[in-house]
Structure formats: C-alpha cells, structure tokens
Amino acid sequence: MISSIIFIIILGAAGFLFYKNVAFIRRNIMLGKKVKPSGDSSERWKTMIKVALGQSKMTARPIAGFLHILVYAGFIIINIEVLEILIDGIFGTHRILSFMGGFYDVLIGSFEVLALLVIVACAIFLVRRNILKIGRFHKPEMKKWPTTDANLILIFEIALMMAFLKMNAADQVLQARGVEHYINAGSFPVSSWFLVPLFESYSDSFLIFVEKAAWWFHIVGILAFMNYLPYSKHFHIILAFPNTYYSKLENKTQINNLESVTNEVKLMMDPTADPYATPATDAPVEKFGAKDVTDLTFIQLMNAYSCTECGRCTSECPANITGKKLSPRKIMMDTRDRLEEVGKNIDKKGKDFDDGKALLGDYILEEELLACTTCNACTEACPVNIDPVSIIMDLRRFLIMEQSKAPAEWTTALTNIENNGAPWQFSQSDRLNWKNEA
C-alpha cells in the first residue's frame, strides 16, 4: 500500500517535470517562423516511417548502424515491460501480465536477450567513443558536456538493463523456492545463465530485497532518464519522428526563393510601378536572411533539438575534412544552445528582453559560414534528415544582404554579374564568341 502511494507520487512528479520540459522545448521551437513544409502529407509520413522508424540512413555506416538498431529495437520492445511495471507499481501486484502464460514467457525471454544485446552494444559504443577515439567524436565542438552527455547516456542504458536482469535473476530463484508472492512466470534465458548462479546461495529475505531494489532502480531510473532527455542530445529519440516528418523533400541543392525578395524584385522590374510610392501597409520591414534563432523557421529549430551529435555530417563535410572551421554539427549545436538561451531569457526576463547577443557572430562566425560549398554531403549523411545548409544559407544571406560583409572577391564577382551577366568581367556581347574558336 505504502509502496503504491510512493510509486504514484514519483510517477506523477516525473510526469509533471517531463511535461514542463517538453513544453519549454515546444514553445522554443514555435518561436521559429511558420512555414509550409515540403511535399504532401503522405510523402512526409512515408519519409518518417522510412527514416525514423525504419532507420534507413543509419546503416550507411554498417557497424554503428547495426549496433544502433539493436539499442533502438531493444529499447522500444523492452518498454512493453515498463507497462507491466507501471501496473504492478500502482496496484501493488506482481507480474500482472503473467496471465498470458506461454506468450508471457516468450516476451520476458526475448526482453532478456534484447537487454543483453543492448548492454553489449552500449559497451561497444563506449569503447568506440573513449578508447578507439573515432575522429568524429573528438572535434572541437565535442568538448566537455557533449562528450559527458554521450557517455552518461550509454552508462545509464547499461545500468537500466543490468537492473532488469538482476531483478529477473532474483525473481526466478524466489520462484523456484516457492516463496509466496513470486508466482511461476516468465522465462529467463540470459539471467538464469550468468546471474542466477551468483544468487542461489543467498537467503530468501536478501533476494526479496535485491528483487525489490532492482525493480525500483529500473523504474525510477527510466523515469529519471526520461527527464534527462530534454537536456540531452538523446532527445532525438522523440524528435526524430516529427523532425523526419518535416524533412526537406525538394532536390537537395534546391535553395528556397525568398518571397520577400520576390515581391521587391517584381516591383523593381515592373515598368508601371511608381518608384516613389510608399508601401501600402505599415508592416515592419522584413529582415533578409537570419541573424538570430528567431529569424529561422520552426523546422530549422526542430532540426537543432533533433540533432544526435553523431557528427556524420561533419565527417563528410569537405570544408571540415580540409581543416576549415566549419562543422555542420556545430551549426546545429550552436542553434540549439542559442535557442535554449533565448528561451530562458524569455521566461526570466520577459518576451522583449534583448541580451545583445545573436546566433550570427556570438555563436557562429563568418569564417564558418563562408567555408560551405553547399555540397550537401551533410544532409545526405544525416540519419534524421537535418538540413544544416539551410541555416548556413540564411545566416549568409543576412551577412551579405543586411550587413554587406561579403568578401571582396565575392563583391567583384557579384558586381560583374550585375553589370555584364557573368561572374567575370566579360562583355555579354561576347557570349557567343566560343563558336568561332573551334
């Protein structure tokens, strides 16, 4: 009875906290501009099912992809077990789903196998990150917190799975001894093999303690982990779904046309337009391009919160490979960090508070933006269809159109385009001269 009450209180508190954190992130994402997503909804669903649910882009790197699918499948399936734990916790029952008989045995048995696979996969991931020192995990943006975060997640997952196995091991010894409350249920292919031998010499009361402790550790751990997600790159396990739903579906190198510019250009090219006419509305003048996160679209901001910090983008980026400052992963991490900062400012100091900082300049530097070749190796590599190029382009647009900070050579090339219709200084009237050079 007491334990049921404690359980319900913990569950409620964890649920509330999670709700608050998710609401904060949702609000932050909605600070972005509303835009129409690409394609129609059936195409978007298909993309989500393929890329997020089906993990189609993960296997581009077979080892990491395979291990990730193990952890992913393991986690999803083992969550069925959480359902039982919740019911048991609230009603003080034990293994409530065991009425399913043989099917229950199959379930628990397969959970155990998956738990073992998750442990093995996470252990290999830890080795890859910390001992093999795979390049993409050790770039400048991966110092301190991001690295700790990644390791914490892996250790957390191992600990949770271990608790699950320990609980089963103690349980089955108690079952075998016919201890009251421990009904005969489940099959335990993994824990019976390496944990049970260790447990057999202990007393009933000690084993009951171990079983209960592991049970509590498992469920409280899951709830804690859930509340850790919003502070972590691990939030991608939720956002990967909506994020892939809102994927860019156009051809990769298609860059959006700014409508605000179209309107002005049309006016400029319209011979009947009165150049001195004042605009009909007092609408605030729109900025061209993006200076801060609030100038980006909600999709770009969701991208930032969905980033897994895997660095697949950066490791394929020609600029990064050749030692330039640009790293598409850093673009996404900076966007998220800045958005968190803006969100906190709004909550603490009100909607109109200006901290004098911006994504462009304080987080992302000109040098990074100017190094991008728009080759889209990053968008191709991203397992959750994030589009760093669109953010780079929007910041570049601000840099060039609003701050006029083009490198001198660009200014020359663009002036040439304006004057003679080519980026070099050749006269347009010579455009067909090639035909006589055969």
Partner: protein
Amino acid sequence: MAVEVKTMAELTAAGQKPDVLFWVGCAGSFDDRAKKITLAFAKILNHLNINFAVLGTEESCTGDPAKRAGNEFLFQMQAMGNIQVLNAYEVKNIVTTCPHCFNTLKNEYPSLGGNYEVQHHTQFLQKLINEGKLKIEGGEFKGKKITFHDPCYLGRGNGEYEAPRKLIEELDAELVEMKRCKSKGLCCGAGGGQMFKEAEKGDKEVNIERTEDALEIKPDVIATGCPFCMTMMTDGVKLKEKEHEVKVFDLAELLAKGI
C-alpha cells in the same frame, strides 16, 4: 571543325523553333577550358542533326553564384530577366553542360514563373544512346581506366548518378570508382560561391583532397560533368604533377572524340 550554332533570335526571325535550347552558361561561354566542353557538345549536336539553338548574347548568368553567396536580390533579378527571355521565346526544353545552371533552371526557376523541362547534357546524351541515335565508335578509350567525379549539383543535388556512368560504359572504357563516389562523392571545392573567392583558412585545399581520391585508383582519365569541377580537378592534377599521366575531360569531350 567549325560548329553550326543558331541563336533563338535567328531561328525566330526565320519563323522556326528549335527542339531544345542549349543553355551554355557563363563558364561555358567565357572560361577557356570550359569553352572546349561547349564546343564538344555542340559538335555532337551537329553530328546528330539536332535542331537546337542558343540564346547567345541574350543569355545571362542564371544567378546561381549570387544566390549561393547569399545575395538573393541579385539572384532573383537575374532569374526574372532570364525567365522573361525564355518565356518570350516559348522555350520548353533546355539542355545544359553545367550542373549549377541545370539545378537552378530546373529547381529554382519554377516558383518564379519559369517552367521548363531541363536536362543535364549527360542525361540528354544517354537518352540519345538509348534511342540508338548516338553511336560511339569506341577505340580511343577502349580498355582505358576512367573514373567519374560526381558533381554535387548533379549527383547528390539532383540524384543523377547513372547517366554519366552509362556514357563511360558506352566508350568501352573500364569504369573505376573512387572510394568516395556517388552519394558519398566528395565535393571538388568550387560550389557555394567558393569558385569566386579564396578558400577559408584550413590545412588543405578541397580540390587536392579530391584529386588524391582520384589518383589513388590510378585512372587514365578523370571524367567530369561540370565546368567548375573541371577547373578544380585540372588544377589538382597539375599541382600533383600528374598532368602527363592523368587527363581530365568532360564526358561530352570524351564522346565527341568517338563520333
């Protein structure tokens, strides 16, 4: 061999219409190396008696470099100007030897009022081969090792990996792939406006990194399908002092040698 090239203005004056417009592009019009690609492609078009035309002095930059450099204004000014010309001539089909022009015309012009059927020259040529119209007398490249450097704006950008490779097969050459190819192909370093400025600070040039990919598999020819990749790869091969062993050619040039 002289090429026979008509402009839209000339055809229109004669009351005729071409089946396809050849969009030459700035590099194809002015860059010394790229002009050879333009000529090679025109030669193939002539050889097949294709009814084509160019805009000639009425063509202007698509605006791609301006857009990628962040100047959306200039891009849209260029785009609207070109669309006016193209629509006035009622152009329906366009073929171009530049993947940047290809991408812009195909993807970025429609929402500004320019709707055309746009093909990259490798797609155009592949179709002609499939239809049996273009026959390549192998020979020169028979048994030679040719690798294809995927232009980002053709491959990853627009999903075309096969057409250029089909053309290489047609040459009876041995197609060899670099370790980074197709969707994982490494950029030559020219896109996104990089062609028109010094690279940012780093420890290597992108074109050197890419040239090393190519040289690693010891090809006889590095084939490209983009005038900017052409510049980058040619420079890379020169810097590596391999220009005598490894040649860089556009696919149009390779095919033109076989007709």
